[in-house]
Symmetry: C3
Subunit: 209 residues, 3 copies
């Protein structure tokens, strides 16, 4: 049973990492980067958020050092994408990866909140570490590609979903329901809100002129 | 007496942090970011310099983890600014925050130099850590907003004032006048030079063609 | 004999650091930054890659803290460049520094791989730490100047040469030929490939439309 849940978690994380990596590879392709740029931006999108969290929490080794097979997989995925994915496939691919991407936002947020709480950080900081883990891969991807990060300007809830999911996690831990239940709740709230907001076309407000 | 000075310091730091945070919120508004972007850029402007210093000095917990009320205050300030500040208020606001911003540059520089000296770093490195603490919040703010950092191209002395203030600090410590006196001197030299340069319209040179 | 090799290494590293710093100063000049911006971008180009490696490996003190004379030298070089280098000198200077730059890419890569291996990191991670040490100074330089990093889009092998050199280093260590031989091989492979690719005009592929 434990093994089965463990395998499910690994499969979901691999799927989410692939979605993040693909988003990076396609943005790099749009910006006409060369093969090196594609690999770097893809790795930044996939691993940037978790690496920034580990830097801030002063945790070593990084998760992509403990699981170096993830690095190999992302580099392999970049190679496959460069061989088989053409510009006309980008739009359908981006629509298809919206759902594993929402799942990844939830998973990475849950991991970030969990590790921050294990470091005895205040709850607001723990929630923000979750948001950073889920969102800053995409932020770094956009910054390297010389764009204002999409997460900060497209008015579609993304970081906000992770923020809500992080509070759900923290609330359950405060109620004594730590461990798996809090993790699952964080993933469901985050990914659920993200899915809902995509489906209903929710907008977050900007600055009124 | 000690308590009174302590309260003054806390009040000044809160004022300076608010000025930095407001500069971030207004730049985000100008770039038409959404509410998430406004909060992130504002936090980067307020906390980015000190966080980068703590990363470089390998210091944990970050000051915004020890004083998590600062994070709440900046998020609250963003909310208030989005509710009540309109684009037509930006120019007078920016003129008004020049002075607390100059003060903040001085305070943050002094803290940075002080912590670097406590880590037994060479004096040039200590001065640079002061400059990083005071200046790199604004640098990160501009980088996320996809601008060349203002501090590096507007020809108005800013980092240079922090550099001078840092040397004043280091000089007093070398003369055996550490502690409060060095901190106050650093603040006065930095903020004084910044005020003077704004008042007199001083320019720093660029590259001659 | 040991002393003679040591002196050669120090001279080569100083030459390479100067080439990296000059590339930063000239990019800053092209972007019309002021004197502060020139110094910052120059330091980022010279020290950014090694600093990012030390951050990721959690190594302190940074090499520019242990050798603070390097910082002084780069600041002095910026001053000299601003005094004596004119825009019409930029193109011949850039052609002249291609060769010390290729050497620097090799030296910095070798140091990065070596330090990662001493930290018992997996070989892929060690190679990537070498690449980061050699390449990310230029990446940070370009990001601060609001450009997509040249290393990711100019289709000329640069990071790829460091990648190959890193694998040569790792292979020799795996064969029991560690120490100086592996370092020298990494420098020769990296700098040699870079020189060859400049001479023959090699291109790395981009994304096929």
């Amino acid at each position: 049973m434990a093994t089965w849940a463990e395998w499910l978690r690994i499969a979901l994380e691999a799927l989410a990492t692939a979605a993040f990596a693909l988003s990076g590879a396609m943005e790099a392709a749009r910006k006409r980067l060369d093969a090196v740029g594609v690999c770097v931006v893809s790795c930044l999108a996939a691993f940037g958020g978790g690496t920034l969290r580990d830097l801030l929490l002063d945790q070593r080794p990084f998760f992509w050092v403990r699981h170096v097979e993830l690095l190999w997989a992302v580099l392999g995925l970049c190679l496959l994408a460069m061989l088989f994915l053409r510009h006309r496939h980008f739009e359908p691919t981006e629509r298809a990866i919206q759902w594993p991407d929402a799942l990844g936002l939830g998973l990475f947020t849950a991991v970030g909140v969990d590790q921050a709480l294990q470091n005895q950080l205040p709850v607001l900081v723990a929630v923000l570490m979750g948001v950073i883990t889920g969102v800053f891969g995409g932020v770094l991807r956009d910054m390297v590609c010389n764009e204002i990060p999409t997460a900060f300007r497209d008015h579609r809830p993304y970081a906000v979903c992770a923020f809500a999911g992080g509070w759900a996690h923290v609330a359950l831990v405060a109620l004594g329901q730590g461990g798996t239940l809090a993790l699952v709740a964080c993933v469901l709230v985050t990914a659920g809100l993200r899915g809902l907001s995509l489906w209903r076309g929710w907008q977050i407000p900007g600055w009124r002129a």
